[in-house]
Symmetry: C2
Subunit: 393 residues, 2 copies
């Protein structure tokens, strides 16, 4: 039985965390911008990184450190992505890992690094090292860690679950940050999951890989995929409970899907949350292409912002998605109301459809009726506010 | 020698055209919405259609009629795309062709049809038939035809050239409409080209295919490709001049590229025209992917709207484009100013770069330095105005 609980990353036994203001964006700022999470005992570790060819320095350093299989601590910062910063940036990420290792009495290779913020700006590494050295670790600071990794996020994203199994109870917790550049294959998205369940490294890695597919790889706000996206997971076994694989997967999926939904809802300038379900596709790839073409169509997203259940733009996006389809078989629903059947207007009263499109949250179901594959994407509308927030400078 | 001239579609000898208000959107409206173009003598014909799987009825009917090789007239309307309208829509497009055939004393199969406007709404076909029957054909109405096919366009798009060859002078003219859903592989884009040069059907078709690649397939405003995109070309030989292939190609490319640029500049809510040149790519496909990823990144486009030469977002888009690249080799320029070298900041004073990004028109050159292929895309910024125009209802 899965129940929500408090404590975020520290709901699981044997984890400590803390955060501080290193003054990354501005030496005088007091905003939390640096976080450290550590397992008090050896643990299994897993990570998933951006598939962007342009990988930020912390991603490259963390990929390297993950290979040791001995990671126990995670150091994170906001305000600077340390991306496109060349060899100096790599050295800075290594210095962050080293500073965190000194603070936690671990080897630098046991620390992984996550950074989010502006691209192409050098890190104020001395201030960050100083900040890390001053972080106080405790069991009550998960929320402050969630705050420290926020960029344009409007609220900290945190969750914790207690999971009762036949042999006893384990806990799992997580924090995440999202906002801009949210797309499948991760995003400017950082996520940390901790659990006191007992799992082998292989089991944890497989569970995380699978869970990312049905959570973070399902979300898209603007179709841009960032250079820094990372999910870290640590499992330290402190509960002594070795859950059945399916039970752990369910708990992990609940954590990642909850955080992914929070990220979408907190997307820049977002006013609506939309679940797109494509079914009846000729292949899983086709289902994905169709769902993502609709989710990333600026015209479709603008219509949603206006509360317009514009099905023509959806048909158009399906048509260029590359998914096999037959116009005369295609069905589209807003929530449960048919809007398209046989490729043309279904006849549901427009006022009813508009009422759905004006809700804060609704579901589009697209039945291509040419096969058996399906795919789900969570997305948003595209608002004037989004553009305003991204005008830059 | 190529020179601009007047007369648009009727600058070439032996073409007549006219337009009328059929009251397509509103029976009482007086806005021009229906146009007819006809060659007074047999001619070669060519067409390129949307690659969207969802093809509008006029596209399907025109594809069919093109097979006869005897097309001599083109009938166009705005206000209704006749897309996603099922068998009834097909019948309506055939009725349009038939009405135009009666008006011009041709067979219905000698007429092709183009429609643009709202998707999924039945055509007021009786009003359109009546309108077509009342169109007066003359040699002075090209501009009125350009007006009749406008939707959210803010100005009519028209061009004409006189081309002096060793054996004499021929003419070529064109009209187009653009605005929303502008993407490579055409767009809600209609274009008609006429010429009095003497060409075989095969030569015209090859020239048009090649020309579309370096003009309409080079433009992208919002990444959405429409169900109705069509280019029609008629060559009636009335000048008696049979130009060398390269001369005709150059003239045709001048027409299509001029119209394509007008379409981009008139994109919905557009404030800037940006040429993206990718060179040094490992393959032509890679060059295309890289250029289009940058051109379609909402984050990059928002930064341009704000006059921010944000190179981090460009690097990010290149990284997820799928094009082979090496971060440490990548160079980016705003006009001729380096902004990125070796994957990181080049050191040009920011004020100079910002001055470029604030211009109404500039060029981004991206040198991937991993191969020899290149690609050019013409695109725009993404403004709040764009979103406002596309909120629907």
């Amino acid at each position: 039985m899965i129940q929500k609980t408090r404590g975020g990353l520290c709901a699981p036994a044997g984890f400590l965390c803390g955060s501080i203001s290193s003054g990354i964006k501005n030496p005088k700022a007091t905003r939390l911008d640096t976080a450290l999470i550590v397992s008090a005992r050896p643990c299994a570790s897993a990570a998933t990184f951006t598939t962007n060819v342009v990988k930020a320095a912390p991603v490259l350093v963390s990929m390297d450190h993950m290979k040791t299989g001995k990671v126990r601590a995670i150091v994170l910062n906001s305000g600077n992505a340390n991306a496109c910063t060349g060899p100096a940036g790599l050295a800075d990420s290594r210095r962050m890992a080293k500073a965190a290792a000194q603070r936690t009495a671990l080897a630098p290779e046991q620390v992984v690094v996550g950074s989010t913020g502006r691209i192409g700006v050098s890190m104020p590494i001395a201030r960050i090292e100083d900040g890390i050295s001053r972080i106080r670790l405790s069991r009550g600071k998960s929320r402050a860690c969630a705050q420290a990794i926020m960029t344009s996020d409007t609220f900290p994203k945190e969750i914790a679950l207690s999971v009762k199994t036949r042999s006893g109870t384990f806990h799992i917790g997580g924090i995440a940050k999202g906002a801009g550049m949210i797309d499948p294959n991760m995003a400017t998205m950082l996520c940390v999951v901790t659990t006191d369940a007992l799992l082998s490294q292989a089991a944890l890695r497989q569970a995380v890989r699978a869970s990312v597919e049905t959570s973070f790889n399902r979300i898209t706000v603007d179709g841009d995929m960032s250079t820094n996206d990372t999910v870290f997971a640590l499992a330290n076994g402190a509960s002594g409970i070795r859950p059945p694989a399916a039970v752990f997967q369910k708990a992990l999926d609940t954590v990642t899907q909850s955080l992914a939904r929070m990220i979408v809802k907190d997307g820049e300038g977002v006013s609506k949350f939309i679940e797109i379900v494509v079914r009846g596709a000729a292949s899983p790839d086709d289902a994905k292409r169709a769902a993502e073409a609709v989710a990333n169509s600026t015209l479709v997203k603008c219509a949603w912002a206006g509360g317009d259940p514009n099905w023509g733009r959806i048909m158009d996006a399906l048509g260029y998605s590359g998914a096999r389809m037959r116009e005369d078989r295609t069905k589209i629903f807003y929530d449960n109301l048919p809007i398209v059947t046989g490729g043309t207007v279904a006849g549901t009263p427009w006022a009813k459809l508009r009422a759905v499109a004006r809700k804060k949250e609704f579901r589009i179901v697209i039945d291509l009726a040419v096969g058996k594959s399906s795919h789900i994407v969570w997305t948003t509308d595209l608002t004037e506010e989004y553009v305003r927030l991204n005008l830059g400078e």
